[in-house]
């Protein structure tokens, strides 16, 4: 099961956080700081999986932005790793060349996309067109 899904930049600022198990807000800040620290301290030669407390962190870096997923031991590391990339590709398609700013200014939309892809800590949809469908309805409504 996915425990949390984070987007954090190199300066350690959280750009998106989604927890699938309740975590107190002060603990969140602490956890996010620790997580990004452990990602930043790694080189390219190191693997993308980190054992952290009783779960595993799986991360990918896109420019200055890290996407980090915390999972328990029932998940397949490689599948989650590639799922992160799929998520980024969906963002890229919607925002046409996504940047950190897009994510900040459209936090609600990124949440919608993530909610379509992960629900209750499980991967629920992987097909790009179907993930974006509700957003497109939304966009049409706000245009009109």
């Amino acid at each position: 099961m996915i425990k949390f899904f984070l987007m954090v930049n190199k300066q350690g600022q959280t750009r998106l956080s989604k927890y699938y198990e309740h975590v107190e807000i002060n603990k969140r800040t602490l956890l996010e700081t620790e997580v990004i620290k452990s990602c930043l301290s790694r080189s390219n030669e190191q693997c993308s999986f980190i054992e952290y407390k009783d779960f595993k962190l799986i991360y990918q870096q896109y420019a200055a932005l890290f996407i980090v997923v915390g999972v328990n031991d029932t998940e397949n590391e490689m599948a989650i790793y590639e799922f992160v990339h799929n998520f980024v590709e969906v963002l890229d398609e919607y925002f046409s060349r996504v940047s950190e700013l897009d994510i900040m200014f459209n936090l609600d939309k990124v949440h919608i996309i993530l909610d379509e892809m992960v629900l209750n800590g499980c991967i629920v949809e992987t097909n790009r067109a179907r993930i974006l469908a509700p957003l497109q309805i939304l966009d049409k409504m706000s245009e009109s």
């Binding site: 699938y20 693997c47 599948a79 629920v124």
Partner: protein, 939 residues
């Protein structure tokens, strides 16, 4: 795709975010945020009703502030109001706020539930989707109460839209996780399983997660999911890469769904139906074949997705652990990955191989990669990869390569990352012990460990080396010589001083003949370290000195002088001072005989689980073959009732009980202690009632002891500070004889010693027990024996109770224990061929004749132990009968005076889930029931 302008029309939001980004300091940021919070609060509180757009804007700002780590304590009500908006955009932002900011114990849940109810009833799929996402995200008990009945209906209704079904599946999963009692299994369950056949792969993806969780908890109800999952998987893996257009990812058909299906199959043993099993094997072969084919794309995404499926398939192969061919192929595939240039693959390959090493089919194949793994240990730049390599070396270690692996681990230890040193130390210590053919090698290895990484050698490790040296007299001389030499290094680790002090104190005499290690030299050497050591080590050395007084009378005066010095007798530490005073006194007043008794060599430690292994398990090390072997060795001792001490070891007073301080360091060493007052804990002693009329409640722990006797006949049934009860028994057909030994562990007489056998009313009719009263006086240190003749008249469930009452000193003692006379003792094993077995199995197909139990393994699942237990249970163990070699089947006849009852049993282990299924078929329902209960407790 619509062009998305940054900020999307919400200018206020854009400005706010820009302001935050431009803040030069944390203080400025907090200031700006507080300003904004005040602004929003006043807007919410103001008289003017806000329009939906403004609400949306402010909620977005609050979300952003929350993300920055500030708690939001208002705005919840506004968000709830947004839920009832008819505009999708507003409703959506309301739900978003709630799912991010509201936790499951909020007071608002009732209002939220109301909105959800309306949206679920709206039949508008987008609204329903939002509502279901909200339940899946918040998922409180109150929500479960409100919707647990509704969601399954939505999930299986024919007219529900696919996307709604997907959300409903995971929503139900959430409710099941938070409140399983509120989600009753019902007729919807079978229809949920059939969602695996759904045309839409998105629905299948969601349903598989739900079914996997449900199947883990209720394997029987969801058994049909196996064949459906196999056929779905088979259709995916054999499809051309264009067939599943929407779900093909870089030419890999539905990778995430495949992974989930393979996970689901890991909830079950290999399929029983040969057709399903064949089809699954084909799938797994295809997946393995694809790994060897040239890639359809050079993109890394293609190979990543493909490998995700491959690793999951290998997990399933390892889980089934039944197809040697597949296991070896999996091992070869992982072997290729070990040398891959991608670090991720090397890491995962090491991890998978670690579990593969524990399969008997692939253990040898894994061992062929030893050089690569050792190389990884030396060259990998990533500590987590090296850690995996250490784990794998540990897992693949056996007698044939132990010396090489231990040597490599030791040399790695010198440069190893600090974070993993302690674990490596534990592993080296365990391997060295387990595979020591020659115990001098073991002693050398442990001393090397202390030399290289003394700081990481925990107490458990050096305790253990002492236990082993004390228990094996063939290594004691060597150990004394080696520690003596090691102590001569100018700087040695304190742990070495401890081990050295203890061993020389016990066995220094073995090397004292050599003038280079004469008693005085030994003493001077130890004492030269004394002042550099911490208090606990000094305390230990003081004990060594008093032992020297006994071993070497010639150094007595030297030692007395040391003890007498002010730095000892007036030491500020109370423990050191006390030891010095008492030891000095002991050495002056006691005669040599008394000294020799008090300071006698330590008795052997009772055989038990290595404390190091326990520690490693606590550290959550991967469970591997070696762990299993360890417990196997131990267990088999138990099962055979073998080398346990004779039931009446009267020296018990000086034998440390297993729970006592390991080395007796905490206390003054074995002084002839008066028997402790037994009232402590008040466990077994009924101080108030002096009359012999009342029977004490069963002694604590007696249930556990009882269970241990189900599969064996001899051993210690009960032991406290006063009394030890041992058993020896034999059974033939419906008759048995049991010898009960009562040992008085104290030096005082027991008076009015009366053991009584008590059978409950309904037991009396079925079990006939005859015995003679024993002598009412049991002298201190003595043992009395009682013989019980047993006849099984008819099958029975309860066990008789043995009550013992006696006077000790001034107090009345009353102890009750269950006597392990169980139905299975009257088993006669029956050998039969596979054909006969199944014929009889079918004959006993009446539902009352079968009793089945599915339960979690309480002990490590080891084939050899299981076999031993089944044989100990009394039935024959039938080999080559079950088509699945992992299963165990047994047969036997229960003899009673009135009838003979044929019994068949079958035990199916599920290693992955750590579960067993036990099925008993006998011609009598009560017998099936009882045997099943008894045997289930054994694994």
């Amino acid at each position: 795709m619509p062009a998305v302008s940054k900020g999307d029309g919400m200018r206020g939001l854009a400005v706010f975010i820009s302001d935050i980004r431009n803040c030069k300091s944390k203080e400025a940021e907090i200031k700006r945020i507080n300003k904004e919070l005040a602004n929003i609060r006043s807007k919410f509180k103001g008289d003017k009703a806000l329009d939906g757009y403004s609400k949306k804007k402010y909620v977005c700002k609050l979300l952003f502030i929350f993300l920055l780590g500030h708690d939001i304590d208002f705005g919840h009500m506004e968000a709830v109001n947004l839920l009832s908006s008819n505009r999708y955009t507003e409703k959506q932002i309301g739900y978003l706020f709630i799912s991010v900011l509201v936790n499951s114990n909020s007071e608002l849940i009732r209002l939220i539930n109301n909105a959800i109810k309306n949206d679920l009833a709206s039949r508008n799929p987008t609204f329903m989707g939002l509502a279901l996402h909200c339940i899946a995200n918040v998922g409180s008990r109150e929500m479960a109460e409100a919707f647990a009945g509704e969601i399954p209906k939505i999930l299986v209704a024919g007219d529900t839209m696919d996307s709604v079904k997907q959300s409903a599946a995971l929503c139900l999963l959430r409710l099941y996780r938070t409140s399983p009692d509120l989600v009753p299994m019902g007729d919807w369950t079978s229809r949920v399983v059939h969602l695996l056949n759904d045309q839409h792969l998105g629905v299948v993806t969601a349903a598989t997660s739900l079914i996997t969780t449900l199947a883990q908890k209720n394997p029987e109800e969801f058994k049909t999911s196996v064949s459906l999952a196999v056929s779905r998987l088979s259709r995916i893996v054999t499809s051309a890469s264009t067939d599943l257009q929407d779900y093909t990812y870089y030419f890999v058909p539905a990778p995430w769904l495949s992974v989930k299906l393979l996970r689901l199959l890991q909830c079950y043993p290999p399929p029983e139906d040969p057709a399903v099993r064949g089809r699954l094997t084909e799938c797994l072969e295809t997946i393995l074949n694809k790994a060897q084919e040239p890639p359809k794309s050079k993109k890394v995404q293609h190979s990543n997705a493909k490998n995700a499926v491959l690793f999951e398939a290998i997990s399933l192969i390892i889980h089934h652990d039944s197809e040697p061919n597949l296991l070896v192929r999996a091992c070869n595939q992982l072997g290729q990955f070990l040398q891959h240039r991608e670090t991720n693959l090397r890491y995962l390959a090491l991890e998978s191989m670690c579990t593969l090493a524990s399969s008997e089919f692939s253990h040898e194949a894994v061992k062929t990669h030893i050089e690569t793994v050792i190389n990884a240990l030396k060259t990998e730049r990533d500590v987590s990869v090296r850690q995996r390599a250490v784990d794998l070396l540990y897992a693949m270690c056996d007698r044939s390569n132990a010396q090489q692996i231990v040597a490599e681990m030791l040399s790695y230890l010198e440069t190893a990352d600090y974070s993993i040193r302690e674990e490596i130390v534990l592993k080296v210590a365990i391997l060295a012990e387990k595979y020591a053919v020659d115990y001098t090698w073991y002693v050398d290895t442990i001393l090397n460990l202390i030399r290289i990484a003394g700081d990481y050698v925990s107490e458990e490790v050096w305790y253990r080396v002492i236990q082993i040296v004390i228990n094996r007299d063939d290594v004691q001389g060597y150990a004394a010589k080696t520690v003596f030499e090691a102590l001569q290094a100018p700087a040695c680790h304190e742990n070495l001083v401890k081990v050295g002090g203890y061993i020389l104190g016990e066995f220094g005499n073995l090397i004292a003949g050599d003038p280079r290690s004469s008693p005085l030299i030994q003493f001077d050497l130890l004492h030269s370290k004394f002042h550099l050591c911490s208090v606990p080590t000094r305390a230990l050395l003081l004990s060594t000195y008093i032992k020297f007084v006994n071993l070497f009378p010639e150094v007595k005066t030297t030692i007395q002088d040391v003890l007498r010095s002010d730095s000892q007798l007036k030491n500020a530490d109370v423990e050191l001072q006390q030891r010095a005073v008492e030891y000095l006194r002991l050495s002056t007043v006691a005669s040599t005989d008394i000294l020799a008794t008090v300071l006698e060599e330590m008795p052997p430690f009772p055989e038990r689980e290595s404390s190091i292994l326990a520690k490693l398990k606590k550290k959550k090390g991967p469970s591997t073959v070696t762990d299993l072997e360890e417990t196997k060795r131990e267990r088999s001792v138990d099962v055979n009732g073998g080398p346990e001490p004779a039931p009446a070891s009267t020296s018990a007073a000086s034998t440390p009980s297993p729970s006592a301080d390991l080395l007796g360091l905490g206390a003054v060493p074995p002084a002839p202690a008066a028997p402790p007052t037994p009232s402590s804990g008040g466990l077994l002693v009924d101080v108030f009632s002096d009359s012999a009329s009342s029977v004490a409640p069963l002694a604590p722990g007696s249930e556990d002891n009882f269970a241990r006797f189900v599969c064996k006949n001899n051993g210690v049934l009960f032991e406290n500070q006063l009394l030890q009860i041992g058993l020896k028994s034999e059974f033939r057909q419906n008759l048995g004889r049991m010898f009960i030994f009562y040992g008085n562990k104290t030096s005082t007489q027991f008076l009015n010693f009366t053991p009584t056998l008590i059978c409950a009313d309904d037991l009396q009719a079925n079990l006939n027990l005859q015995t003679k009263p024993v002598d009412p006086t049991v002298d201190g240190g003595a043992q009395v024996q009682q013989v019980v003749n047993i006849e099984c008249v008819s099958d029975f469930t309860e066990a008789p109770v043995l009550n013992i009452q006696f006077r000790y000193g001034g107090t009345f003692q009353n102890v009750s224990v269950k006597l392990p006379i169980t139905l299975n003792k009257f088993f006669q094993p029956t050998e039969m061929a596979s054909q006969d077995f199944f014929q009889r199995w079918k004959q006993l197909s009446n539902p009352q004749q079968e009793v089945q139990n599915i339960f979690k393994a309480k002990h490590p699942m080891d084939t050899e132990i299981t076999k031993a237990k089944i044989i100990g249970f009394g039935s024959a163990l039938l080999e080559d009968v079950d088509p699945n070699p992992a299963n165990f089947v047994g047969a036997g006849i229960i003899h009673t005076r009135t009838t003979q009852i044929g019994c068949l049993l079958r035990l199916e282990p599920n290693l992955q889930a750590q579960m067993y299924r036990l099925t008993l078929r006998t011609s009598k329902d009560t017998v099936s029931q009882r045997l099943c209960e008894l045997l289930s407790e054994q694994f």
